[in-house]
Amino acid sequence: MIRVQHEDFDIGAEIAALTQGRTDIGGVASFIGLVRDVVGSESVGAMTLEHYPGMTEKKLQEIEAEANRRWPLSASLIIHRFGRLEPGDRIVLVITASPHRQAALESCAFLIDWLKTKAPFWKLEETAAGPQWVEARDSDDDAAARWIKDVAE
């Protein structure tokens, strides 16, 4: 399941809803991304997340489907917010559930790594020097690349 929304989300409620009534799930893994107030040496007041309505949802669905092909998942959820967010605000939630912990943990890491390099979102940060678009980082590409060897199959 994927959701792209401006509204905040309740982590506990989302995990509870995903596992409600399920007795086949042995482990749940989650990742929560938050807005930081310092990036590098720059102080960030807030940020605005832009996205590409339509393609963003499509890419998130593809990424989630890929995770389900690679790991035996009982359930999964990606929520990504857009619009203006302040330091401390939640940006993204990834939840994966599986009979076994390894599949849950690995697929959760895969989802956030792939999402960061494939889902069309862009961050505009408010800094002392004015609004600045965040540049993509090589380290994010590297993090995503470690999952690529399995894609070619």
């Binding site: 590409y52 499509k58 960061k116 889902a119 069309p120 993509a136």
Partner: protein, 83 residues
């Protein structure tokens, strides 16, 4: 053809979306970028460094050799920074 711009590409072009009718000879993404660059100095500035412009045609990432045709939705944007 519908062309969408996002993030700093949108800021530089000055608009988020436009409808264009390139001549029939403009049949690939690369040719479309060349043609769009000549529409205004803003377009030229936004598309000056092709290595930092990503392209999606009908919401799929594509390279500069990918074909484009009337009715396509073409989106131009920088490398993504979500998550």
């Amino acid at each position: 053809m519908r062309v969408l711009y996002f993030a700093w590409v949108k800021s530089k072009v000055g608009i988020g979306e436009e409808r264009v009718e390139p001549p029939a000879g403009v049949a690939t993404v690369g040719a479309l970028l060349d043609w769009l660059s000549q529409r205004s100095t803003k377009h030229a500035a936004a598309l000056a460094n092709r290595s930092v412009v990503r392209v999606a045609v009908n919401q799929e990432y594509v390279g500069t050799d990918h074909p484009v045709k009337p009715g396509d939705e073409v989106a131009l944007f920088p490398p993504v920074t979500g998550g």
